[in-house]
Homo-oligomer: 402 residues x 2
């Protein structure tokens, strides 16, 4: 059997890296007066252990060594691992491990279903949940460690490599979805893991979004920057089978999850020559990215980035088309990492302040009626000073498909 | 713009079909003494309207016409549609529409995050959530209407069509993931929507599972019947890059979502000649499917199906390998529809009773050490009498790849 990673070790991060992630969380718990937390979502367990298991990670403010309460797979073993069959065994397991039992334990209340949260709280001896660890986890996850930044950089390299092959995938007469399917295949062959993790129930997507023509202007129920009607009413987003017409842009925004951490990148392609206004919109988008990247320093308000983007769009006379036309997205960027919708949020009312270690996707896009979506999206890492480090290095011009 | 469906109509089912789905739900609400419910998950909104929007569907026991409280897309209009910008507007909107306000309103408490449920309850004038509509929805969704059965049948036809092309996709020396990528592409070109909906946070998957060799015996944290190490610790399930060896089975269990309703189907393939024990295990699996299908009549206990499957495995001396070897799945089948894990659950402690209209996937599989996973999976519709209607009609033998 090929063993690409240690199947038995509950902590694939190693002790030092795990502590780098746990310490800021423990400090935040201290400040929020949360003494203990039980983490249970696949995403959070992956963040704090480097692997996914079914069960719980028990964290206290006092201790760098968490407990692994594992339901599946049962082959996990090592210091701190306790196999349990059901939540009702959590308290006895904690007591045996010398932990205080009966005190409030914070749960992931932003993602855990109500019914599960009530049952888990009761198994822990609480009448109802007390203490929400979700906002603290989200805040900590927004500041990437060096290892996480490397995983993002590696995703960015593969992501750009796949985009460089897109012109070779195009054939005259293709529809948006036919081109998307070839891009999906090229991505998977390059190592894309496929899964596209979004926090919450308000985003559903498959491998990303390829938009051309007026389909870009079809409003979607989801919280993505661009819409699209999709192929079926059961998944109303993205490509809808529109034939790619020469002279019209094709916007490609597909999954960059090559390492468990995903970059977000958009580029435009076209068969034949696009109109000057399309060139102008694309150049403006790249200019806004560069302008905002130049502001990416610790301490900058996320709202300032949004406002600058809107100002640049307005100065260019393009505000009407900025982030949509019939329907406008209320943001120009967002944090990325294990999920596509992390902090900070680059929006007018965002209170987020940029910090070193943030990974931020900027997507100042335009929807031109009768033409389609135009613009680029890049992922940046925030360092100790501006500008942000661009990690999605594909060329930003409109790339010829033929 | 191509308009594959009406972008403006909140109810794509039509009134008659919607009533067919709402009436059993309203009856169940009556019995559970729930007077009103607010449905909000994409899956439930799709079930009750045939489309996905962001917002709420307000249902009362007294009325066949629900209210559509729509946040996005704002282009929805028609009778019963009310655009709202935030949950705090729900009560005033309901009052304007002549609904009783301030009474308990059931929510989807099995899937809605705790934090959202608390906020929504408070917006509705309750201190905390009262009344859970999730189990009622799950029970109603388990009984498919004629239209839903047709959508499942159509998915089954396309699903089988794709499987028939798998031998043509194989090349000597391929790995499991390389073959999977070609199957993914063929599926997408046939119209597979890609998204693989699973209820809850305990299943994550991309397009399905291709397993060969001992990777089949690698335990996974997820609630799938079979495991696999996966390619990365961030998604520990499925293909792991094992080279497909002549004489060993390749189990293919990939996404059958062609219509919004998904069939579940597994078939085994092999290059070269497999051993008699592999042939025996595959035949036993098909025999168990046929045996259980013969019991599929309204009123049959789901647990009886499981017990019969286990008995047949035992009689054949294959119990040790039934539903896994190092780790065993605790079920042999499950309901399918909009999600892959619907009711009924075919498991030893299941209290589910089969009903006409159930769509059930049976997957009696075996993991043979040193060889891999063997067996078939089929989706059936339960009619007014046994046997169940097979809707995944690909040949059930081990199909030659070369």
């Amino acid at each position: 059997m090929k063993e690409p990673y240690d199947f038995h070790n509950p902590n694939l991060l190693g002790v030092a890296e795990q502590i780098k992630r746990l310490r800021p969380l423990r400090q935040a718990m201290e400040q929020a007066d949360l003494r203990a937390a039980l983490v249970s979502s696949p995403v959070s367990i992956y963040y704090l252990t480097g692997r996914i298991y079914r069960g719980y990670l028990y964290i206290t403010v006092d201790n760098d060594a968490p407990l692994y309460l594992v339901r599946r797979p049962t082959i996990l073993h090592g210091p701190g691992v306790h196999l349990i069959a059901k939540p009702s065994q959590i308290n006895e397991t904690l007591a045996k491990a010398g932990m205080a039992v009966g005190e409030p334990v914070a749960l992931e209340l932003d993602t855990m279903p109500y019914h599960d949260a009530m049952r888990l709280a009761q198994a822990l001896g609480m009448e109802a949940p007390e203490g929400n660890i979700s906002p603290l986890l989200r805040a900590c996850r927004a500041v990437k460690t060096e290892r996480e930044k490397d995983m993002l950089r590696r995703s960015g390299v593969k992501h750009a490599e796949v985009y460089s092959r897109i012109p070779g995938l195009y054939k005259t007469g293709m529809t948006d979805i036919e081109l998307q399917i070839e891009i999906e295949r090229a991505s998977r062959l390059e190592g894309c893991l496929g899964i596209f993790r979004c926090a919450g129930l308000e985003m559903e997507i498959f491998m990303g979004n390829v938009l051309t023509g007026d389909n870009a202007d079809a409003p979607s129920p989801y919280d993505f920057a661009m819409g699209g009607a999709g192929l079926d009413s059961s998944l109303p987003v993205g490509a809808d089978g529109t034939v790619i017409r020469p002279g019209l842009p094709v916007m490609v925004d597909v999954n960059g999850n090559y390492t468990g951490y995903m970059t977000d990148m958009t580029r435009c392609f076209a068969a034949g020559t696009v109109s000057p206004e399309v060139e102008k919109a694309n150049r403006l988008s790249a200019d806004i990215c560069a302008g905002l990247a130049g502001m990416m320093a610790p301490g900058t308000a996320a709202a300032d980035l949004y406002n600058r983007a809107l100002e640049m769009a307005r100065e260019a006379g393009m505000e009407e088309y900025f982030m949509g036309h019939r329907s406008h997205a209320g943001f120009v960027g967002h944090g990325v990492g294990i999920e596509i919708n992390e902090l900070p949020v680059i929006a007018p009312r965002s209170r987020d302040i940029l910090a070193a270690g943030n990974a931020i996707a900027l997507e100042p896009k335009f929807v031109l009626p009768g033409i389609g979506a135009v613009g680029v999206e890049n992922t940046y890492l925030v360092g100790s000073s501006a500008p942000g480090e661009l990690i999605t290095k594909a060329p930003q011009n409109i790339v010829a498909l033929d």
